[in-house]
């Protein structure tokens, strides 16, 4: 890989200043599980690597019913999957975090990195989509928060500006919500998702999101409204599972065909709803 200069800011402000100073020539290093691979494969060749891991406060994870869950930018997947509040109030998010890579990867990889990387198959995307999480951003203009659905815009594209840094994610607490995360992969451990999805039940309403079925993780609004305020019956579940397939648009690639992805989206919706019924 090309030689680069390694920078280690101590505050968010300093990091933003470095981003401004080296605009277009730097990358942010967090857990590094995506960046280091991109460097090695020469997909990126930055002149500056700005390591945010040592900025105090970014590794915080907090929860209250009022404020919901806050996950700092440097919180690792293992921190999330093992966190007691996450396991109690967002078990589907804990499972999603646990499904990323291997134990070693999860010791480094961060949820924020997973989101900023904006892969269509990001494992932690769909739980955040159904919870309608907000992404907390700091840049030279100050702070802003935007919904995750607006943050990821396309394959590996986000609205993040070159001077900006994601400092955390806010996940609202929804009283009485029950969710199920599913990841279908070629191999159970240490694999990318062939498809992944989260179905969330709030009373008699449902939210669902899927990954690896479109250029970004997506919600399935039609299927959600089909189920709105209804009691689940086998017929309704079947209808919803079939309809879900019309709302996704997967492609065929080396991991699976489009047809298989559609088949397992249907199965995932059906099995999730059956479990939630």
């Amino acid at each position: 890989m090309k030689e680069f200069q390694y920078l280690r800011p101590e505050t968010v402000e300093e990091a933003v200043a470095l981003r401004c100073e080296h605009e277009g020539r730097s990358v942010l290093l967090n857990g590094g599980t995506d960046i280091v691979i991109q460097l090695r494969e020469r997909l990126i060749a930055p002149e500056f690597v700005i390591d945010i891991k040592h900025i105090p406060g970014l590794n915080q994870i907090t929860f209250s019913k009022e404020e919901g869950l806050y996950i700092g930018a440097c919180v690792t997947m293992n921190d999330i999957s093992d966190n007691e509040d996450v396991r109690k109030y967002y078990p589907f998010l804990s499972e999603a975090a646990h499904s990323v890579g291997s134990k070693q990867v999860r010791n480094r990889a961060t949820l924020v990195g997973n989101i900023v990387n904006a892969s269509p198959l990001c494992d932690t995307g769909t739980p955040l989509y159904v919870c309608e999480a907000n992404i907390c951003i700091v840049g030279k203009e100050g702070k802003r928060e935007i919904p995750i659905t607006e943050f990821i815009t396309f394959v590996r594209k986000t609205v993040l500006k070159p001077d900006e840094i994601v400092v955390g994610v806010k996940v609202p607490y929804i009283e009485g919500a029950k969710g199920i995360f599913t990841k279908i992969s070629r191999r159970k451990e240490v694999d990318l998702a062939t498809i992944c999805g989260t179905v969330l039940k709030i009373g008699d309403n449902y939210r669902m999101a899927f990954g690896a079925v479109a250029p970004t993780p997506i919600r399935l609004p039609e299927t959600e409204s089909l189920l709105q305020e209804k009691k689940l019956t086998p017929e309704l579940i079947d209808e919803a599972a079939k309809h879900a397939c019309t709302e996704v648009s997967p492609i065929s690639d080396i991991r699976a065909s489009k047809e298989y992805r559609l088949d397992v989206v249907e199965v995932t919706v059906r099995r999730s709803l059956e479990q939630l019924a």
């Binding site: 890989m1 090309k2 030689e3 279908i184 070629r186 191999r187 159970k188 451990e189 240490v190 694999d191 990318l192 080396i254 991991r255 699976a256 065909s257 047809e259 298989y260 088949d263 397992v264 199965v267 059906r270 099995r271």
Partner: protein, 776 residues
């Protein structure tokens, strides 16, 4: 005879060093002033190299030397000398990734940057990416000069074709057999390319001294075979080449031949005195080391009403890739064993090794057996069902028994297959239905048999030296390599048994062609057998020499003396004994004189009367195979009918090992083999598209994790191999042979769909279930 050390589960000799990270691998070796190499590789599957401009690369600071194919005077290869280590200018690059130039520089990064500056002009040529197409008369020729290549006399390249070997087996009268048969079944199968994925990628360092001595440190299975190939390729005498193989992090065949060693040597030659290191990346492993050849199999079987197989007609077409220096022998091995472990009177087999513009095919655990048995063992189940007998019955009926004959017409005096079948059927409870599974789940069981013999030159040699130290401890020197399979421990146990000392007292020295004695190769599941025989002979030689001295000193006739527990002892009066250490430096007398000198034993082994088969018929005049190792696997699987996911719940293995030298290591080999076979059955395939490997990393090439490993049950039977040390025969590879077809048979038993291709993925299963549903 009661055995003290053979048959015991001694701890691996290399366990602590490997677990603590102390073991030194090639990449751990950092020599003073060492340079690093990187290669320019062909972006085309088949292209003529018109010119190479290295001038810009040479100017880059930190670059010490740039080479192209011009550095290679001769072609080299194990059985067929068909490759330079780098494609030559004017000649063709024959697979996508073939090295066309290389750089040595102060750092790997600089070397890589320099490679970017090398300009290569190619003329892309039509490629051949399917072995069946490659056999057609109008197919582009990958090696137009094939007929001029030097080849071992048992291989038959066909001039003007892409066929580098056509193996023929004609036993009995197949035509007559088919005429007599009540049923004739024909089935085709395809086995894709897979890769070995050893934990440690290939690595090599070369250093060229000013006196003309070349030293190569290589992660290799066979330092002597590497030395031989390098000697031919670079026209160097053998005494000027030293090959050192330190700790090897797994090979599975991929480190059997010579690969990247050939690239670092000319670089080192040009950078006199400065060592040059090349370390393969994982991506290189998938493309530029060896891969398991793809194979198209067609089996026609003539069967009697009772299920007895009367005639077989097999056609195996091997996708050998760009070079088949090694692949020709896999083709031969596949042809040899083409009847499977069955006693069949009439066998007609054609096995073709075919060049394609694919990565280079090479030896992989099983050496063709995993591939042919995927076809043979599914075929057995197909026949059984059509004839109306059980998979167990058809194997009992046709399976080879003592006194039976192999496909090559060899008489088998020892054959433990029937016992293995009994054990597996019992352990897997094949006759009992599976426990009920959950909703949308189906469980089923499957079995498959398999066998393998070492496919090695009939005169392959092994040697060993044992030196006694002054205190009665020993050094055992052999170039039978420890590559993770446990050779160091097993060979020491064999020596310990003869010497009647604890294995702790014997240090194993290996892997240095200047200092450890000749070993043809650590391949073919031959190390316990061949190197083991040499070690046993060396130990017996030492004992014999010491007893010669002891009879003088002790005044006891030699035939009444023996080595016992560290002493030379009288067989009848055990209290009359002297420590063996008394004879370490010879024998000394009261007047101060001495006699005999230091104790050293040597052993050389070549299997006698191991004779090549007939070219026209493939029939053996005597024993062409050193031994056949046979056995069976059973498994139970569970399929999720919604997602197609197949989970292997349990696998059972039982093989006739002849004699198990170390039960723990045997179990480890058995377990590893089953899991590796599971990987090929369910996950593994090199996805090739126009010669490009699409999944050359662990992101998209999946091997089993611990989570995928089922409950593993290991059994063995012991019918001694007459020529094996303590009756042992090789097991490392045979153990993997039945695994994949066993799982495929279980999948058929679960869902009634026969897969004629590996791997059988969740997607394949779900698709098959949907198609089946549509038909109903």
């Amino acid at each position: 005879m009661e055995l003290k050390y053979v048959g015991q589960s001694y701890e691996r000799k290399d366990a602590v060093k490997k677990v603590t990270g102390e073991a030194e691998y090639v990449d751990d070796i950092r020599l003073p002033r060492m340079l690093y190499a990187w290669c320019v590789r062909s972006p085309y599957a088949h292209a003529r190299i018109l010119s190479i401009d290295t001038s810009e690369a040479e100017k880059l600071p930190g670059v010490k030397c740039v080479i192209t194919g011009d550095e290679y005077p001769n072609r080299a290869g194990l059985y067929l000398e068909d490759r330079y280590f780098m494609a030559k200018i004017g000649d063709t690059a024959k697979y996508m990734g073939e090295a066309v130039a290389a750089v040595a520089a102060d750092t790997p990064e600089i070397a890589r940057q320099a490679c970017d500056l090398i300009k290569v002009e190619y003329e892309e040529l039509p490629g051949v990416i399917n072995a069946v197409d490659a056999m057609k008369p109008d197919a582009p020729l990958i090696h137009p000069d094939l007929h001029t290549y030097k080849v071992a006399p048992i291989f038959y390249p066909e001039k003007g074709t892409n066929i580098s070997h056509h193996y023929v087996l004609r036993k009995g009268d197949a035509e007559k057999g088919f005429a007599e048969a009540d049923y004739v079944f024909e089935n085709s199968f395809y086995i894709p390319h897979v890769q070995h994925v050893p934990l440690e990628p290939h690595a090599a360092i070369a250093k060229y001294d000013t006196d003309g001595k070349l030293t190569v440190w290589a992660s290799c299975q066979s330092p002597y075979a590497v030395r031989q190939a390098l000697s031919v390729a670079f026209a160097m005498p053998l005494n000027k080449i030293r090959v050192i193989s330190p700790t090897v992090g797994g090979g599975f065949g991929s480190k059997a031949g010579t690969t990247l060693e050939g690239i670092v040597i000319p670089l080192a030659k040009r950078c006199k005195g400065r060592p040059v290191k090349l370390l393969y990346t994982r991506e290189d492993e998938f493309v530029n080391a060896y891969v398991r050849q793809g194979m198209h199999a067609r089996i026609k079987a003539g069967v009697g009403k009772d299920g007895k197989i009367i005639a077989l007609h097999n056609e195996f077409i091997w996708d050998g890739g760009a070079y088949t220096e090694y692949g020709v022998n896999i083709t031969k091995a596949g042809g040899w064993a083409s009847a499977g472990p069955y006693d069949i009177d009439n066998v007609w087999t054609d096995s073709y090794c075919v060049y394609t513009n694919h990565p280079v095919g090479g030896p992989y655990r099983g050496f063709g057996m995993c591939e042919i048995h995927f076809a043979i063992e599914q075929n057995m189940d197909i026949i059984a069902e059509k004839v109306g007998i059980s998979p167990v019955e058809i194997r009992r009926l046709n399976g080879i028994k003592p006194g039976g004959y192999t496909g090559m017409g060899e008489r088998m005096d020892v054959a433990g297959l029937m016992d293995c079948i009994d054990q597996v059927v019992k352990e897997i409870e094949y006759d009992k239905p599976c426990q009920p599974a959950g909703p949308h789940k189906i469980r089923a069981k499957g079995i498959a048999a398999g066998w393998k013999s070492p496919s090695m030159p009939t005169n392959a040699g092994s040697s060993a030296i044992i030196r006694m130290n002054e205190d009665g401890t020993f050094f055992l020197m052999s170039s039978g390599q420890e590559i993770g399979q446990g050779a160091a421990t097993v060979l020491v146990q064999i020596a310990a048994e003869v010497l009647s000392v604890s294995p702790d007292k014997i240090t194993f020295c290996s892997g240095d062609t200047d200092h450890t004695p000749y070993e043809w190769q650590t391949v073919a599941s031959r190390t316990t057998y061949c190197a083991g025989n040499a070690v046993k002979l060396a130990a017996e030689d030492l004992v014999d020499k010491v007893l010669d001295l002891a009879q003088i000193k002790m005044g006891v006739v030699k035939r009444d003396l023996e080595f016992r527990d560290g002493y030379v002892a009288h067989k009848i009066y055990p209290e009359r004994k002297l420590p063996i250490s008394d004879f370490a430096l010879g024998v000394s007398f009261n007047d101060g004189s001495g006699y005999g000198g230091p104790a050293i034993g040597v052993g050389s082994f070549t299997l006698e009367n191991n004779i090549n088969t007939d070219k026209k018929t493939g029939i053996a005049k005597h024993h062409p195979a050193a031994f056949w190792t046979m056995g069976m696997n059973g498994c139970e699987i569970e399929i999720d009918t919604d997602t197609g996911a197949c989970k292997v719940l349990k696998m059972v293995s039982c093989f006739d090992a002849g004699k198990v030298i170390n039960p723990t290591l045997f179990a480890a080999q058995s377990e590893g083999a089953m899991v590796q076979a599971l990987g090929t059955a369910l996950f593994e395939e090199l996805k090739l598209q126009n010669g490009r490997v699409l999944n050359k990393s662990f992101v998209d090439y999946k091997i089993p994790t611990a989570d995928d490993a089922p409950e593993l049950i290991v059994k063995y039977v012991e019918h001694a191999e007459p020529t094996g040390p303590y009756g042992a025969r090789g097991v490392g590879e045979p153990l993997m042979v039945p695994g994949a077809p066993c799982i495929a048979n279980a999948i058929y038993n679960a869902i009634g769909v026969r897969f004629h291709r590996m791997p059988i993925t969740s997607e394949d299963i779900l698709k098959a279930l949907k198609e089946k549903k549509l038909k109903q």
